[in-house]
Amino acid sequence: MNADWTGDPDQLLEADEQRREVARRFRDTQVPMMKLWTYYYGLGGDADEMSFDAYLNEALHLPASQVGLIATAMRELSAGEDL
């Protein structure tokens, strides 16, 4: 599950927690995965759709910079949502 992680084990726990929170927020929004990925790509995101999907399903870790962009993408997209 965390075979992709090469950093400090304490940071891993923190990253796991952060990822759980992002995944939870993703489930709460009505935004489809591809729409979110496209928006994230538009912000300069580098992860491909597969890795992105895996991250949102808590199956893969991404670099902190990418995680920040996913959070930004979610915030900006749900701000424009009229649901």
């Binding site: 929004t29 009505q30 489809p32 995965m33 538009g42 912000l43 949102l56 399903n57 920040g68």
Partner: protein, 255 residues
């Protein structure tokens, strides 16, 4: 990429999949093309089935966020009847929608199910109801509702006619949904290309000015965006404008 059991990664509750379906239902409700198509379907069904002394009112209800919404109708009476049923949250059309099967109520005065709705509908002059769901292959849920002022207002032949109508309409609707979805995806990608170009340029500019790496430049931009509560793309555009005076940066690519 697949999970250990060979299935694509999905939330155990299936929520991401559901989110995608919701957006399709949103499409059914918001696209003027689809609305016009459903209105035509309702009018066609009503003219085809209406006979002397037996006017058929017809409407279409779509399920959104698990809540039904009347989207198209042959006339005001049909829309009012659909909305009435949706207001009660129960009735033959909603049951047909949920079960995915045709439902015929030949005589409202002999019906014991959905009492509050049936009573109100009868008071509004309805005597028989036919509900036929549109099979949209899980992409959205819709039902064609027909109301008659006569008991036994729908013959066996009528039911077969409406079912074949509904099947044909559903296959066209599936195609319309698919096309609308692709068009939306293309528009999103175009917007992403424009946005990415502006942001990449701004990041490069910050790297040059601050003599920093890409990640640092990115976080400077992100911080500016979140503290001022301005979209990242707009902050990036401001950065470029402040350096070069250029107002409009566009990415060119063949569509």
């Amino acid at each position: 990429m697949t999970g250990s059991d060979g299935q694509p990664f999905r939330d155990p509750d299936g929520l991401p999949l559901e989110a995608a379906e919701l957006s399709l239902q949103q499409l059914v409700l918001e696209s003027p093309d689809i609305k016009a198509f459903l209105t035509e379907l309702a009018i066609l069904a009503s003219t085809r089935l209406s006979g002397p002394g037996n006017t058929i009112h017809s409407g279409v209800t779509v399920l959104r966020h698990k809540r039904p919404q009347a989207v198209a109708a042959s006339d005001a009476a049909a829309r009012a009847l659909d909305e009435l049923q949706n207001g009660f949250g129960q009735g033959p059309c909603l049951t047909a929608l949920r079960q995915g099967t045709t439902l015929l109520v030949p005589d409202l005065s002999a019906e014991d199910r959905w009492r509050p709705y049936i009573r109100t509908a009868a008071a509004n002059g309805v005597s028989s109801i036919l509900a036929v769901p549109l099979d949209l292959a899980g992409e959205a849920e819709a039902v064609l509702n027909l109301y008659s002022g006569r008991s036994n207002g729908f013959s066996g032949e009528d039911v077969a006619t409406v079912e074949s109508f509904a099947a044909q309409a559903a296959s066209s609707l599936r195609l319309i949904l698919r096309i609308s979805q692709l068009r939306e995806a293309r528009n999103d990608l175009t917007a992403a290309m424009q946005s990415r170009t502006v942001i990449d340029m701004a990041v490069g500019a910050i790297m040059a000015q601050n003599r920093c790496d890409r990640d640092t430049a990115f976080s400077i931009l992100t911080r500016a965006s979140s503290t001022r509560n301005i979209k990242l793309r707009d902050v990036a555009a401001t950065v470029i404008t402040s350096i070069s005076g250029e107002e409009r940066i566009t990415a060119y690519f063949d569509e």
